[in-house]
């Protein structure tokens, strides 16, 4: 086997997918896709939400069966191989949501799918496994205990555990599916360093990402998918961001935010000395009418929790949230009555009802408009639903379709749209473009700008540095539950945000 490989030399492909097609129900998600991966290559796949990227890598890693087509790995046919067989041959898939077991410890998470080879002792050597895991964790620069339950770790640490689980096996192909979506810049750096190190040691890599600058930075080759079809395969050195976007979307779109950066002096919301134990420590700020206030910081700095506390979802021990026109707000009910809306980061868990229809998702926050005396009016629900769908150009086959069937970008639009019949004055929005394709992202940005221009106050948490800097009038940076600093006007820069977020005050980057 090994000698055969050597004979073929460097030019051979580790992975070859030939005319792969896949349907979910009646909808084709992959049409006749050809994809190959050369040895020791970092191959990026880009495309809008719903273009079929995730489905393709799920097929490659054996998670879902292919309908038509063949897949060859290291020269042998793996088309219908079982997931375990594929994993044992050295393929690992890392999702954007770490696939971990919250009740188990780090060590158990890492070892749980370890195969004990026949002929050897049936007993699993926990001691040895612990040593190996500790070593791998140390290599990745992680300091948490291997006995800590995974549910106690931060998202970034969990991703590292996921990575270590993959590394424990003999890796030949690592697939990373939007790994950076929930990571902060320094964590992204750590991840990229790891990927490069693996690549250097002979592992081929498939990389899926929405942040094109990252894709361009890390990959050798880029495959662009659109509507389930391969539209182009480019060498990274021979392409650029604009071309990629054109290929992905099929048209030119304006990605610059066009921010006029104007806001009135009228205060829309005043937060003073807000405390939520363990998450938010003594936070005070104001946001003005027509202003977009960005909140930067690392994941786990308490940004999402701050928004949730303002919205009345989290227990607060002290502090106050006041809307000058509506008074003090403590509960969700008061917040909504004061025309505050929250669009959460995790739309699948907190924003949407995946198993219910689009109309129901849109109507649930607008019952005050659609119903009378507690009695629902289906005709009016339909009208309002349709209005919101059109306003946000949600792509769907019918308004009674389940939200689950929509792509990420369209889901995000629904998650946002459901508030907009409520004459929202203060919009709290958490990671507006997480897992959203470039086209939808641009639409959402345009919407935020237009709304601010119309007088809405927006408080936006974002880990996407470009989004944060281009959209925000003013940025406050959180660190460890506190406000580490505020930036406005010309002070705003990527470096300044990072410095505040990581606690390095003026000495520049170090560590």
């Amino acid at each position: 086997m090994a000698s055969e490989c050597e004979k073929r030399g460097n030019a051979i492909n580790v992975l070859e997918c030939k005319s792969v097609s896949k349907w979910y129900g009646e909808a084709a998600v992959l049409k006749n896709v050809n994809f190959d991966l050369a040895e020791n290559e970092i191959h990026a796949i880009v495309g809008e939400n719903g273009a079929g990227k995730s489905t393709l890598v799920k097929i490659i890693s054996g998670l879902v069966p292919v309908d038509v087509g063949t897949i060859k790995f290291e020269g042998s046919d793996r088309t219908f191989a079982h997931i375990r067989e594929i994993q044992n041959s050295g393929v690992a898939l890392i999702h954007q949501e770490p696939r971990l077991f919250p009740d188990l410890s780090v060590l158990e998470n890492v070892c749980v799918d370890y195969q004990i080879r026949d002929g050897k002792s049936k007993r699993f050597n926990w001691k040895k496994a612990e040593e190996e895991t500790k070593e791998l964790l140390a290599q990745l620069g992680c300091s948490f205990s291997v006995h800590s339950p995974v549910k106690a770790l931060s998202v970034a640490d969990q991703q590292m555990v996921d990575m270590v689980s993959a590394l424990r096996k003999k890796l030949k192909l690592l697939i990373v599916d939007e790994p950076t979506a929930s990571l902060t810049p320094s964590e992204v750096e750590r991840l990229f360093a790891t990927i490069h190190k693996l690549n250097a040691s002979g592992v081929s890599i498939i990389f899926i990402g929405h942040r094109l600058e990252e894709v361009l930075a890390i990959s050798n080759r880029i495959t662009v998918l659109k509507d389930g079809e391969v539209v182009a395969v480019k060498k990274t050195s021979e392409t650029n961001e604009d071309e990629l976007i054109r290929l992905m979307v099929g048209r030119n779109i304006d990605t610059s935010a066009n921010n006029l950066k104007s806001s009135s002096n009228q205060v829309s919301l005043k937060v003073s000395n807000l405390v939520s134990p363990g998450f938010v420590a003594d936070v005070s700020f104001e946001v003005k009418k027509g202003e977009i206030l960005g909140i930067g910081g690392l994941v786990g700095a308490g940004r999402s929790e701050l928004l949730e506390t303002i919205f009345g979802l989290r227990k607060r021990t002290s502090g106050e949230v006041v809307s000058p026109s509506h008074g003090s707000l403590k509960t969700v009910k008061q917040a909504i009555a004061s025309r505050v809306a929250l669009v959460p980061e995790d739309r699948a868990h907190n924003g949407l009802f995946l198993n219910r229809s689009i109309t129901e998702n849109l109507v649930i926050t607008n019952l005050n408009l659609t119903s009378k005396g507690g009695k629902r009016n289906f005709a009016r629900e339909k009208v309002i639903g349709q209005e919101l769908i059109e306003k946000f150009r949600v792509k769907l086959s019918s308004a009674s379709q389940l939200v689950r069937e929509l792509s990420g970008g369209n889901q995000q639009k629904v998650s946002l749209a459901k508030w907009l019949k409520q004459e929202v004055e203060i919009l709290l929005i958490d990671e507006p473009s997480r897992g959203v394709d470039v086209g939808s992202k641009a639409e959402i940005h345009q919407f935020l700008n237009a709304s601010a221009k119309d007088g809405m106050a927006v408080v936006m948490v974002s880990s996407d540095m470009r989004e944060l800097i281009e959209l925000s009038h003013r940025i406050i940076v959180m660190r460890n539950g506190r406000i580490a600093g505020e930036l406005s006007g010309s002070e705003i820069s990527e470096e300044a945000v990072l410095r505040l977020a990581s606690g390095l005050l003026s000495t520049g980057r170090g560590n």
Binding site: W23, D67, F311, K333, R356, E360, I364, L367
Partner: protein
Amino acid sequence: MSSLIKAPSRFKVPSYLIGPILILVIAMIYGSLGSEYFLQPSSIIFNTGRYIEIGLLALALTFVIINGDIDLSVASTLAASAGVLAKMWAAGVPIFWCCIAAIFTGFILGLINGLIVIKLGLPSLVVTLATLALYRGITQVMLGDGVVANYPENFVGFDQRLVIGGNPGLPAPLALFIAASLIFYFILHRSNYGIKNIMSGSNPSSSKFSGIDVNSVRLTAFALSGTVCGLCAVMITSRLGSTISNVGLGLELLAITVVVLGGTDIFGGRGAISGTVVSLFAIMAVREALVIQDINGQVQDAVIGLLLILTVLVPRIRSYYIEKRNRKKRFNEAQRNA
């Protein structure tokens, strides 16, 4: 294939009703094979009374289950409410006020279930498993080994009265059930509370983020369930004309079976009143058909159990084979094109 899915029919039977309707039809045929009296209006009338209590419990449970909870204590709540009714009647309280007290007891006990579930953050399965024993115990404490009977003539025999006279007439329990179904249908599918109930069962976290007070929705569902148990206690007392402490023993599993057979998702977020109603009549028809064919209790239970599994399993198997066939078809098409 596509013609099968997109049938151009104006009125489409929801998929969750197909199973129960099939069962209903088959049971009717089977029962009428056993006895020429099976489909007689009179026999249907005399038989509805017993099932209406299960039906009402199932309607209330539909709310609780759609909401993502479960109430195993319904039969015990019913018993405790009947116990209060009996004790007050024995103490000389007018029967009307006894009934009111019974319904109120049900309401309170349901509320207690809900409060424990919400305030202590315990799973409803665990809490109502405990209150199943607790409420039955309260009934035993109240009634001991005694029997309360001698209810007034005008109270006893509600199930045999006709709301609309003649043959076939409309028996009172059936009329009550139809009314209750309509009310419950309205609440679940046409009111704000209903959609909040369904949505908080579908995703409690998103509901909180959408401004729904999930806990009060849950509490309402439990209280509603308890209140209906109280109402059923009145009905069962009227039907039997006596009260003992084991009244309604084991009804909870029957009621849950009705709800699940009617297509309500046991994990919440999906379900319909129509499903529960049709499924009640399907189970009633199966039971009656089996009884008329002289089949014993255990085998009746086994048949219902089998039907329960088949209603969930058969559509799964069917869609699996359809999916498989489609895949094969596409594969062949792709081969031809290649």
